[in-house]
């Protein structure tokens, strides 16, 4: 009897969960389906059965040079993430392994820089970029993305490094390991998973950043966010192509995201929820 109730319970929960999941996922699914429809099919009313053409993907590349914004997105997100890691790893390391009375204050202050509304500094940043010739440059945007994500990177690394037990260091020292050996043979292997998760989450955040990337770029440095936003004018006739461009823009990050669900919670709540 008990088992019977449990099975029935499980089946009804499963049905409910799948319905909710499919509704939430529907806009993405429909975008993918529309991307392999022809343009007349795309506006011909609701249909989940596309004719399965890949022409839209080819057209987006030949007419709009899709590869360029795609490569910009890759360069900006990977570049800014690596730059942020290079700057943040030593800080997080120092804060986790030689904490002082002020460590907590510094961390909180770093977090507070993240609270500054981007739009509040739009004018000065725009003017500075203009005066230094950084508008629409990959270098300028990489620096920008590095700065806005740096606090999250430091925080995430700190919460990971903090979990590395100090006793291991002591044990290594007792065995006669020098500082360098300590770092290379003991700490680095333990820190790699934390660094990898931070890398992953930061690439996702940088890839999807849609304020500075849209405002500070026009054509040369424009990543996918700006590229897609440029399709905003009401032209109902190219939905299939827009869907193809959208699918390609979200696919890589969707897959990365699926692998980083757990780190996402931790990273975005600054370690407050694990």
């Amino acid at each position: 009897m008990a088992r019977n109730v449990t099975t029935r319970h499980k089946i009804s929960a499963t049905v409910a969960a799948w319905i909710v999941a499919l509704i939430i996922f529907f806009p993405i699914l429909y975008t993918i389906i529309t991307s392999i429809k022809t343009e007349p099919e795309a506006i011909a009313g609701f249909s989940l059965w596309p004719s399965g053409t890949f022409e839209n993907y080819i057209t987006v590349q030949t007419q709009r040079d899709y590869l360029k914004p795609f490569m910009n997105s890759v360069i900006l997100s990977v570049g800014s993430t690596i730059l942020a890691l290079i700057i943040a790893i030593p800080s997080a390391w120092a804060m986790a392994f030689s904490p002082t009375k002020r460590t907590k204050d510094i961390l909180m202050w770093m977090l507070s820089t993240k609270m500054m509304p981007a739009v509040a500094v739009l004018v000065p940043i725009y003017l500075l970029f203009r005066d230094f010739g950084l508008l629409d440059s990959r270098i300028g945007l990489t620096v920008m993305l590095t700065l806005i994500n740096l606090p999250i990177v430091v925080w995430m690394l700190y919460t990971y490094f903090r979990e590395i037990p100090g006793e291991i260091l002591e044990a290594a020292r007792m065995d006669g390991a020098g500082l360098w050996q300590e770092i290379v043979y003991v700490l680095t292997p333990m820190a790699v998973p934390g660094i990898a998760s931070t890398l992953l989450l930061n690439i996702i955040l940088a890839w999807n950043e849609s304020f500075w990337t849209i405002r500070l770029s026009t054509t040369n440095a424009a990543p996918l966010t700006a590229f897609i936003a440029s399709f905003s004018s009401p032209q109902g006739l190219f939905w299939a192509k827009l869907s193809a461009a959208s699918t390609m823009a979200i696919a890589p990050i969707l897959i990365l995201g699926w692998f980083s669900q757990k780190q996402l919670v931790r990273g975005l709540t600054f370690g407050a929820v694990k």
Partner: protein, 290 residues
């Protein structure tokens, strides 16, 4: 073991990130503050003069300002309402034993990874378009007249899109918190005859309280600055019907070329964000002490 040497080393290691963030925080903000007291128009850059509080007065007396503040509150409040309630409900559902849990989780989390311009355009064109969208198809199926979402309910439409993007975030965090709830406690409550509602009110809600706070605060920080979704759907219109404070500042700065006015608006946005930040910092800070 913390010798003077390691302390110096630690300071050196922290210096780059601290200095960078210090410059990043102080320079643009000081410039914004400075510009906010200037009469400075990009179309007439040679004619810059000190105007005291005129920009604030100008911004404050502009009817668009109050509408934008109201719209900002509606977006933040509306999205929070949908995502927190929806997030709790879905998290409770996913916490049950179900077939295909992994795939369901992946499907539900996905919208969070969709970049804002894509999310907004997909909803605008394929879901909410009054002639060809899925909603229109559904209306027609039931013999109703399709709704022109962005003309009739511009703000509500934006709330729906943004809520769709943030619902996964709330769900994932609340689910993570839910899964850390002690199974024995739940069983004990069940044995004592507590029904679902009682267990929910006396066991689950108190356990989730902190995570709900974190979800609300973090989302608020991001929701105060909703921008791309407005840009690609309504462009703030019709009129100012879907212009939030962030969008109004952008309009003033880069479409109106009014550096002084936009800066005054920027300072107001900073003050608003700081009020929220104050509470968030306390919530996160508490966690550090544990």
């Amino acid at each position: 073991m913390a010798t003077q040497n390691t302390k110096t080393l630690a300071r050196l290691m922290m210096a780059p990130s601290v200095l960078l963030l210090l410059v990043w925080m102080i320079v643009p903000l000081a410039m914004t503050l400075w510009f906010s007291f200037q009469n400075y128009n990009l179309l007439d850059p040679s004619n810059v003069s000190f105007t005291g509080l005129f920009n604030y007065q100008f911004f404050y007396t502009d009817p668009a300002f109050f509408q934008s503040i109201w719209n900002t509150l509606v977006i933040v409040g509306g999205v929070l309402l949908i995502t927190v309630i929806g997030g709790i409900a879905i998290a409770l559902l996913l916490d049950q034993p179900i077939f295909g849990q992994g795939i369901v989780r992946i499907l539900i989390i996905s919208p969070f990874f969709v970049m804002p311009p894509v999310a907004a355009l997909v909803w605008k064109n394929m879901i909410m378009n009054p002639s060809y969208g899925v909603f229109a198809d559904i209306s027609k199926f039931f013999g109703l007249r399709p709704i022109d979402w962005f003309a009739q309910y511009p703000l509500f439409s934006i709330v729906i899109i943004v809520a769709w993007q943030w619902l996964p975030f709330a769900t994932l965090i609340l689910l993570t918190a839910l899964q850390s709830l002690d199974g024995e406690q739940k069983e004990a409550a069940e044995m004592d005859g507590a029904n679902f509602l009682n267990r929910f009110i006396y066991l689950v809600v108190p356990h989730l309280a902190r995570s709900i706070t974190v979800v609300i605060l973090i989302q608020t920080i991001f929701l105060l600055g909703v921008y791309a979704e407005i840009l690609v759907t309504t462009n703030g219109g019709p009129g100012y019907a879907s212009t939030n404070l962030a969008f109004l500042i952008y309009r003033t700065a880069l479409l109106g070329y009014d550096v002084g006015g936009a800066s005054a608006g920027g300072i107001i946005a900073v003050v608003l964000a700081n009020i929220v930040a104050f509470f968030l910092m306390r919530a996160v800070g508490k966690n550090l002490d544990r």
